[in-house]
Amino acid sequence: MEVLKIQHLSKTYGSGESRVEALKDVSFTVNQGEFVAVVGESGSGKSTLLNCIGALDTPTYGNIYIDGNELLSMKEEQRTIFRRRNIGFVFQSFQLVSELSVEQNIAFPILLDYRQPEREKVDEILEVLNLKERRHHLPSQLSGGQQQRVAIGRALITRPKLILADEPTGNLDSKNSRDVMDLLIRASRHYQQTILMITHNMSLAASADRVLRVSDGILTDLGGKVDEKLS
């Protein structure tokens, strides 16, 4: 079942001589439960692609369907609400709410919907993320790895169909990186979620089901495991 469908996506910055084509006619689909890694050089357009899919940026041309919903036809307010209910974000710099505890940060998207988070759900995620002991801590009282785990918890709480991760291990050491990746994969398998992850790290990309490569705004589907195709 298709969770994400991208059709002829283009993104152009500037005009005239300073015109840059960050994405050129990108089209692909991702099925439910797939774990897709997006690789590419710095400035190749992979972050632009992720931002467009996450409705943080608007493409110049093309369509984005998430679970059958055309993202770009929605109004700003509608799109924001859709994003927090249907897309989980994991940022490189975590973007936790520094004034909220671990538990509150994880429940943040539900709180934004003015709903009471279900205690069992939060407990379950804290358990999976191994953060039960730290549920009342503030982000400033956590290590980088723990902060990223909280960010993953926040992305999982609404059980979104799609999780977008922009270099989620970029700020972490190798041990923490491996832990976070294991967690992300475990969680997505457990909840049958689709993951689209940007990474520079080829060994991390190797754990993905499928690899997409972006180069000069052009997307190439490398299919299977990265180590098979990229070597």
Binding site: N51, R84, F89, F91, Q95, V97, L112, Y114, G144, N171
Partner: protein
């Protein structure tokens, strides 16, 4: 680049937008100080001008002193001018007249007219001989007099011949009483006094007036004179108003006023300091990373501090001249308005005056505040750890101990409240600046009460000219009123008939009342004073009347008052007025009725008084023509001078006091808008990240409103509590002390300022919201 401090102009160029708000805050604070002090300076100047014009430019007067004592006083080095001033027939009861008109005779030295009065002589010169005199302008117009003419003054012992040496401008007293004034030399006056009053008194009903040099300590000099000459307190009178305005009064009431002015001065200073401090604080908070990076590269904490202070002073280069300049322009506008509204008094106000105290205080307060206010954030900046700069994460995190409470409020509101309270220092500054605006408003609002107590306003019925029956009888012809109504210079003409001490019976009890007739205009003006009943009925139905409230007892609506003078007539009371323009003795009431009722009751058809309100365009010539038409049969009371004086005081007081209040209200709005904008700017990246996570625009709005409301509620509470305390303290100093009126909670003023705060908060959240919406999430996130 020669020094690391050269980074300052480069950084200023890069952070132009960010710095704009801090610069704006400094401009605003300097503007506030300059305008308030400038307005106070100009207000005092205008009041001194009016006081000198109306009461004379003298500082102290001595009565019952000998010639020798006067000579000793005038010989003192502090004395700038001195003169005897004596008066005869001041109340018009001593029998002095000129061509049938009452005459007030004065005698003084030349310095009284030339140094202690303002522009008194309109033509000619002070008399050189004892048989010469200056005559009031109204006598010149009425009798077509010229310098050198001889006039004969009627006195109780016969006629005195006087040669006119010049003319004096009219004063409100002679114009209102329809009398003439004549000024003789002291010797000339005393010679007439001795002959007419048969009084051996050595004082000749004279007072010795003294003007001191402004450089001396007048209070000490007066005490010294009193001690040296052994004078009692009753013999010495200060010109309290003028000395008070010159800051030289030892009068206890003036000391209370000085105390109040000092409190207001401190409050304005605090407001200025607070505004600048909070803006610098927010500015530094926004750039912690940059300072961390500086530390990382190798800058010492001291160097970072120097950088912040230099940057703050860089803003002053523009902000202080801009604030002072804007303040000076506002003062020019106010002075121009004053000159336009009341040229008789304030034409002497300089059109482009520079108030040096205000400019100096604006510059000093701006520069000193920036210096001291920059030190605290500079210290904070210097303490930023280099590690924080490298990681780029930790420094953005909240380092408090408690998470935001989401138990009572929704997440957006809870976060807004938490943002407001998260930094104690910032919270105190913001609450302080909110509450200070309220305190300033409530403190300055006492000056409006002071104005209403100190000045009696002109009522809508105040006439420019009154034509009064000399013996208070109904003797002014109806036809005169008709003629005057048709005069092109007259806007309104209305007459009243009076019957004094009319015997009545009320509920079987004998009483007396003054019966007064009203016509259409006067009934219309009485509308605002109607406590109960109907003005329609009294105007349209004969034998009805209005009672005027009196504490000793007032006929009530529905009562029947029986007039028992000639024949018994019943009058039904159909309304009660709270007050009327007429005063009468304690046990005499007032009944107002229509002209028809009055005529039926008394049989009188003519008026006791006719009042005229003139068109603005009416000239002195028009008034002279009306005077000629009325003739000398009635008292022609020209009240325009007195009215202009009241208006002048009102304009100068009103303009400056309402100016202060408007300014404080505007500053409150600007300050709140700016504070919220800066507070939001400091968290801009965080807010953009919230949007990325899924916070909608509506929720963003709620969050900012919650933050602003937290400041407003806490600031409003403390501002109201402290503001009311200041209001009470100043009220007691300025009003209770002198007029005895007790303080009450000023609900209206409190409501107005809290309303302004609420409106300001509503305005304040919109700007930052628009900015957040415009900011690209992607750019902000990738900048991190």
């Amino acid at each position: 680049m020669k020094s690391y401090l050269d980074l300052v102009p480069i950084s200023s160029r890069l952070h132009r937008k960010q710095n704009r708000m801090s610069i704006f805050c400094i401009v605003l604070a300097v503007f506030l100080v300059t305008v308030i002090f400038g307005m106070a300076d100009m207000f005092i100047r205008s009041q001194i001008m009016q006081a000198r014009m109306e009461d004379g430019n003298w500082h102290v007067s001595f009565r019952n002193i000998s010639e020798e004592q006067a000579r000793l006083i005038s010989a003192r080095p502090e004395v700038e001018a001195s003169s005897w001033y004596g008066v005869l027939n001041y109340s018009g009861e001593q029998g002095y007249s000129l061509q049938g008109k009452n005459l007030i005779l004065c005698g003084s030295e030349e310095s009284w007219i030339t140094k202690m009065q303002t522009d008194m002589i309109t033509e000619g010169a002070f008399p050189k001989k004892d048989n010469e005199a200056l005559m009031s302008e109204n006598a010149k117009t009425a009798m077509d007099l010229k310098i050198g003419d001889l006039v004969f003054v009627e006195t109780p012992v016969g006629k005195f011949q006087i040669t006119i040496s010049g003319f004096l401008k009219n004063v409100s007293k002679t114009m209102e009483e329809d009398s003439y004034g004549v000024f003789l030399t002291t010797d000339g006056f005393r010679s007439i006094y001795q002959q007419t009053e048969k009084d051996d008194s050595t004082y000749f009903n004279s007072i010795y007036f003294v003007q001191f040099s402004n450089r001396c300590n007048i209070n000490n000099t007066i005490s010294d004179i009193k001690a040296q000459l052994g004078l009692s307190g009753n013999q010495v009178s200060e010109n309290t108003k003028l000395l008070g305005l010159l800051g030289q009064s030892g009068n206890s009431f003036m000391l209370q006023i000085y105390g109040s002015a000092f409190i207001l001065f401190l409050l304005v200073l605090m407001a200025g300091v607070m505004m600048i401090a909070s803006s610098l604080n927010s500015n530094v908070a926004q750039r912690t990373e940059f300072f961390g990076m500086m530390r990382c590269i190798g800058a010492t904490p001291k160097q970072v501090m120097r950088l912040v202070v230099k940057e703050a002073f860089g803003w002053c280069k523009f902000a202080i001249p801009a604030g002072v300049g804007a303040g000076v322009i506002v003062i020019w506008i106010l002075c121009a308005m004053l000159r336009y509204l009341s040229p008789e008094y304030f034409i002497g106000m300089p059109a482009f005056a520079i108030s040096f105290p205000s400019v100096i205080s604006g510059i000093c307060i701006g520069a000193l505040t920036v210096f001291f206010a920059a030190r605290s954030p500079a210290k904070k900046a210097s303490r930023v750890s280099p590690l924080a700069a490298i990681s780029g994460i930790n420094n953005k995190l909240f380092h408090g101990k408690k998470a935001a409470s989401t138990a009572f409020f929704k997440i957006d509101t809870a976060l807004g409240i938490h943002h407001a309270k998260s930094s104690k220092g910032n919270f105190v500054l913001m609450v302080g600046s909110f509450s200070l605006s309220i305190i300033l408003f409530l403190s300055f609002s006492v000056t409006i009460d002071f104005m209403n107590h100190a000045l009696k306003p002109l009522k809508p019925w105040t006439p420019d000219i009154s034509i009064v029956s000399p013996n208070n009888s109904c003797s002014i012809s109806n036809n005169l009123l008709k003629d005057l109504e048709e005069n092109p210079a007259v806007k309104k003409a209305y007459g009243r008939m009076f019957a004094y001490n009319v015997p009545i019976q009320l509920n079987g009890v004998d009483k007396t009342v003054d019966l007064i007739s009203y016509e259409e205009h006067q009934f219309d003006w009485a509308k605002d004073y109607l406590l109960e009943g109907s003005l329609q009925r009294v105007q349209n139905e004969v034998n009805t009347g209005l009672s005027v409230f009196k504490q000793q007892g007032t006929p009530k609506v529905g009562d029947t008052v029986t007039f028992v003078e000639n024949r018994s007539v019943d009058i039904e009371i159909v309304g009660t007025l709270s007050s009327s323009p007429f005063q009468n003795v304690l046990d005499v009431g007032t009944i107002i009725c229509s002209e028809n009722t009055f005529r039926q009751l008394t049989g009188n058809t003519d008026y006791t008084i006719i009042d005229l309100q003139l068109l603005k365009s009416a000239t002195q010539k028009d008034v002279d023509l009306i005077h000629a038409a009325v003739g000398s049969e009635y008292i022609f009371s020209d009240e325009r001078l007195g009215n202009r004086s009241v208006l002048g005081s009102y304009y100068s007081f009103g303009l400056f006091i309402y100016g202060f209040m408007t300014l404080i209200a505007l500053i409150t709005i600007f300050n709140i808008v700016n504070s919220i904008a800066m507070s939001v700017s400091a968290r801009m990246k965080e807010y953009v990240a919230f949007r990325a996570i899924g916070l909608s625009n509506q929720q963003m709005k709620k969050m900012i409103v919650a933050e602003a409301s937290t400041y407003a509620v806490v600031g409003g509470f403390w501002g109201s509590v402290l503001g009311l305390l200041f209001n009470k303290l100043l009220y007691e100093k300025m009003i209770t002390f002198y007029w005895g009126e007790q303080w009450k909670i000023p609900f209206v003023d409190l409501g107005i300022i809290l309303g302004i705060v609420i409106i300001a908060v509503m305005i304040a959240v919109n700007g930052p919201l628009k900015r957040i919406r415009k900011i690209s999430i992607v750019d902000t996130m990738s900048a991190q």
